[in-house]
Structures are given as C-alpha cells and as structure tokens.
Symmetry: C2
Subunit: 342 residues, 2 copies
DNA sequence: ACTTAGCACTCTCTGTTTATGAGTGCTAAA
DNA sequence: TTTAGCACTCATAAACAGAGAGTGCTAAGT
C-alpha cells in the first residue's frame, strides 16, 4: 500500500465526501465542478481509473460514476478524513443531555437515554452496552427477611451494581444460622470479580455447606446467573433510522438487520469484543455477516480504568465518519463520569 | 346492522378466509371453485356486489376482486370466525415454553421471553406490558446501610415488586433516628397502592418530617418515580416479522410503525388502557393512527384478580384472528400463574 | 510528458405502447 | 332466482425508443 500521490488522495477524498452526501455514484465532471482542484474532467477520469485499478473505487456498471470501495473508505478514515468538529447547535444539545443524564439514578434509564441521544444526534442506529455486572468485584451479600418463608437476598458489587432476588427460606433455619451462612459466603467471595467466581469455586462452597444445600444453591444461583447474563444488556436507539438510508430502501436488506437487532446476545458480543477506545469497522471488517454492508463505530467507557461497557453507532458504509466519531467520543467520555458517580 | 342472509355470510366468510391466506383480492370465480357453496360465479358476483354496497367489502379498483373492509373484518370476528384451535405441534411447543417460564425468577426475563414466544408462535409482532408497579400496594420499605455515607433503600410491594436505590445518608443521623424515620413511613403508607400515594399525601409527610427533609425526599423520590414510570415497561418481540407481510413491502409504511415501536410510552399507554379480557381492535378502531392499517389483539393478565399487565399481538388487518386469539388466551392465562408464583 | 478537448460508445432510467389476463357488470335465457 | 355469455375495465408485464450521464480513447495543445 505505497503512498498515493497527493492528487489521487485529493480526488479520492472528493469522491468519498461527495458520495457520503449524495449516495449517488459520482462522476468526473461533478468533481471538477464542485471541488476546486483546477483539473479538467478528463484528467480526473484518468486518475479515477487508476484509483479503481488500485482498488479504492468501484463502478456499479460501465458507464456510471465511481463509488468508494471498502478499501476506499478505510483509506479515507485512516488518512483523509476531515478534523472532528461539532456545530454549535450540537454542542449545546450535548451539554443539555449531559446535565440530564447526570441526574438519573437508574442505570437502565441512563443506558436507554444514551442510546436515544446517540441515535438522534447521528441519525443512525445506536447500540449501547450497559456496564457489565460480571467484570466488577463481589462486595457483599445481604439477607433481608420478608416473612416466615421468604427473604430478599441482595448482591452488591464494588462497582455499585445491585441485584436482588426473593428466595425461599427453609423452615428449620434459625436466624442465627442464616447470618452465619451469609457471612461465610461474604468472607469466601469478597473481592473476587463476578466472572472469576468460577464453577469449581462454587462447587467447593457447595460441599462446605452441604448441610444447607437448599438455601445455598438459591444464593449461588443468583451469582451464577449474574456472571452469564450477557443477553439483553444491549439497548438500541433509532432502529427506524436505517430506513432513511437509500441503501436500505429494499425491504429484504432491512429484514436481516432488523432480525439481528432482536438477537441481543449477538449484539452484546460485538460490543463486548470491541477493542478499547474508538474502533471503526467498515463493511466486511465486521464479523457479523448481516453488517457487511454497514460500518460500526464503537467506543468503550471505563469504570476505575477498566472498560465496563461500550457504545456504538451502526450506519451504512457511506457514513459520516468524522461527525459520528466526534459524537461518540464525547458521549463515551461523558459516560465515564456518569457511571462513576452512580 | 340487520342480519345478513345466510348465504351472504357464507360468502363473506369465504372472502375473508381466502384473503387472509393469500393477501390477494379474491374474485367470484375462485370462491365458487375453492369453497363448495354450489353457486355459480355469477351469483356470487351479485352477492358480492351487495356486500360491497353494504360496506363489508371493497374493491381496490373497478375490475379487481374484493377485499374485506374494516367492517367486514369486524363482522367476521364477531360472528363468522372459526372456532379457536391449536395444532398438536403448537400445543407441545406451548407446554415446553410454560415449563421454561415457570423456572424463571426475574420478571424482566419472563416478560421478554413471553414477547419472544408470542411473536414466534404468531409470526406477528408482539407487545408485552410487564406487571405495573403502581397498581400494587405498598408493603414496606427497608434501609440497608452500605457504608458511612450510603445506604440501600428497598421498596417492597404486596405483589412482590421490589425496587432499590442507593441514597446518600446525612452524616448527622444516628442509626436510631434512621430506623425511626423508616418505620414512621412504613406506618403511614402501609396498604396503599403506589398510584394512590398521591402528591398531597407526600407533601404532608414532608411537612411532618421537615427536620429530615434531605433524607426523606430521597426516599419519597423513589416512590414518586415508581408511580409514574410508565415508560419502558413494554417489551417487543418479532418486530422484523412485519416485514414479511406483503402489505408492508413498502418501506415508508414500515417506517411509521418502526418509529412507533421506539416510543415506549405510547405503546404502554395502548396496553394499559386495553379493557380486561381479550380485546380486538381492527384498523382505525385503534386510537394510534400509525396502527390504522393494523389489528391489535390484546389480553390482560391478573394478579389477585386485578389486571396488572397485558400482552398483545400486532399484525395487518388481514390477520389470522382465530389462531392469534387462541394463542393469546393461552399465554395470558398461563401468565397469571407465573406472575403469582414469582 | 502531462493535460485537455472532442467524440463515439455504453448503460441506466423513464415514458410510451402493446398485449395479456383476471375480474366485473349487465343482459337474456333457463 | 340462478346462470351462461359477453363486452368492458383496469392493473401488470413486456417491449421499445429516447434522453442523459458518464466513460474511455484519441489526438491536439502546452
């Protein structure tokens, strides 16, 4: 991938920019008209022909304008893309959103609102993965007796996650025994991350307390489920936005994406495995085949310097990369604060 | 709306049945062929012409077959529809689902799974409104100190709803004072439904405890939010199913529905206001204009003989009413058990 | 050695025409 | 009252022509 001549880069940039705006194949004449490159259409034609040879552009058919190829987009985001910038309006909007988010107390609400904002601002579809329970450390477990038969068990992690569940109390248990069991568990598990409380460890605890197996297994089940509940932690925003994209005017294409949107586990997998910081995956760079006509831009957010969740924007490969990246960066970095103050 | 002659009813039924299956305007000949009414096409034509005059059928254009009008569907579901029935396969599937649902402990999980099942079985889009917090009665409020500054407050209703929130403790408060405040609140609020704990009542409490206003308002905020958090309690299933319906092959039509699906509060409103038992709303009988090409079948489910939530199926007016109603009834009645045992 | 103007050629898109076929409404006979 | 027959209507699909945008190539200009 030797260096492209300066002129070729300028032309490639013009093609990508134009195509992002218009969604129409862009011809040599419109470039020489709209962008002040001081070159005739014929020259540009020659260069475009070269760029196609090199794999940066494609032609839908012989006598049409050019469209950026996946490789073309890649080069664009890596080297050509304009500097990130927000309009004054967008900045104001974001500032408002941030103060609003700051006030919310429920994590679900925050995540959902974030998804919505992200989609409204970008006009694409947004994905937000809430903070992952299983990455945070076990802090303590509490038992709140409700009546003779039932108690509420509350699981608290160091990251402030809280999960509760009603369990049935074995009749024969004194309240003293109860608190013994709980404090034993607290001792054993304190400080470990939820995902590291492995099955073997749980098995061992089970044998330690085999006399109280009925109660214990209810408590442990809560833990176990917490470490594996990947499903359903992803919130979407602006799913209908994809319908505004001309590349999805065909219902068949939409269907695949829509169906994908219903598969929470696959979505959360994509976000979980996205690398730290901002990542841009164009077309088939996405592992998910349904996304091979799309680009996905993601960013992670941190809690105590560990990535605990991610946000993303999904649009056609013909996406306003620069704008989206800026917005995503802003929101992700703000999310760091929101999550910490929770 | 005088009685339709027996023959007219049979023909109307044939048209509706046929159209539900094929989605094509149905002509007089295909009826005389496919349904053994022992009438010639010409006779059927005359009858159909009458039925159109009466408003039960419409013609997309002069020389096309007939399509049931909204009134036609209404008559069909009120008087003509075949008896509800499930295939053996569906029954088995339902039985499996039920045992699965029975095992789940998290209400969100149950609701989501119900939505999924409902959409898979019907091939339409499903809406499920989770049990409403605000209809159940206040039972008790507990405070779990976490550390010096923070405590977890847990709100428990008689229906078993549980909600928690971390609040900041005013430093100056002894644990004794704390428990006094909490038990005072418990006394004052016990037994009232969340939605009836009105603003005036809350104001009164506020003045009673004005010395501890900072703590109190945090506690009361939790209550207040609980009584008004209509938003977001609706889960959808099979949203992509609408794309399989030929009436939605046009992207524009889909867009309106898709956008509606993102407006949780409007959806929950529809479900909340649906009457007890099974209700069928056809076309413009739906208040929501986006649904005017659709039919919505809903059913409520109960807890202690009070409706606390609802499930629904949304499809084109050309919907398999009989089948969907049966399925919805089964699932709703089963949900009664699941919710009670929670 | 580039760059550019000119030109023939290609291919899509749009509008028009034409043919086909399903289905109707009406009339007249059974 | 039912039915057979027939002319008529309208949507849909196929075939076709013309326009327009854009290309590639060639030859002339710098």
């Amino acid at each position: 991938m030797a260096g492209l001549s300066d002129r070729k880069q300028k032309i490639l940039q013009a093609v990508v920019t134009d195509y992002i705006q218009t969604a129409e194949p862009v011809g040599s004449r419109s470039i020489s008209r709209r962008y002040k490159l001081d070159l005739s259409a014929a020259t540009i034609r020659n260069e475009m022909s070269d760029l196609e040879e090199l794999g940066f552009l494609t032609q839908p058919h012989t006598s049409a304008g050019r469209i950026p190829s996946q490789q073309g987009y890649r080069f664009y985001v890596d080297a050509l893309m304009g500097p990130p910038s927000l309009t004054r309006q967008e900045e104001v909007y974001l500032a408002n959103v941030f103060t609003q988010l700051q006030k919310m107390r429920e994590i679900d609400q925050i995540v959902q609102q974030t998804a919505k904002v992200l989609s409204v601002l970008t006009s694409y579809t947004s994905l937000v993965l809430g903070p992952q329970f299983r990455h945070s450390a076990f802090k303590q477990m509490r038992l709140l007796p409700l009546d003779e038969e039932k108690a509420l068990v509350v699981l608290i992690t160091s990251a402030g996650h809280i999960k509760h569940r009603v369990i049935n109390l074995p009749q024969a248990l004194s309240s003293q025994e109860l608190s013994q069991i709980v404090s034993y568990l607290n001792e054993q598990l304190a400080g470990q991350t939820i995902e590291n409380i492995s099955a073997t460890r749980l098995r061992q605890l089970r044998s330690d307390l085999y006399a109280r197996i009925d109660l214990l297994s209810q408590l442990l089940q809560l833990l176990e489920e917490s470490s594996t509940d990947g499903e359903g932690r992803v919130f979407l925003g602006g799913t209908s936005n994809i319908l505004n994209q001309p590349e999805f005017k065909d219902v068949e294409k939409v269907k695949h994406l829509l169906t994908l949107f219903e598969e929470g586990s696959r979505l959360s997998f994509v976000l979980e495995t996205s690398s730290e910081g901002v990542s841009i995956r164009i077309g088939t760079e996405n592992v998910i085949t349904e996304m091979s006509d799309c680009s996905l831009i993601t960013a992670t957010y941190q809690l105590y310097n560990r990535p605990v969740g991610a946000i993303g924007v999904l649009g056609p490969t013909r996406m306003e990369y620069s704008r989206v990246i800026t917005i995503i960066e802003h929101i992700a970095s703000h999310l760091n604060f929101v999550v910490r103050d929770l």
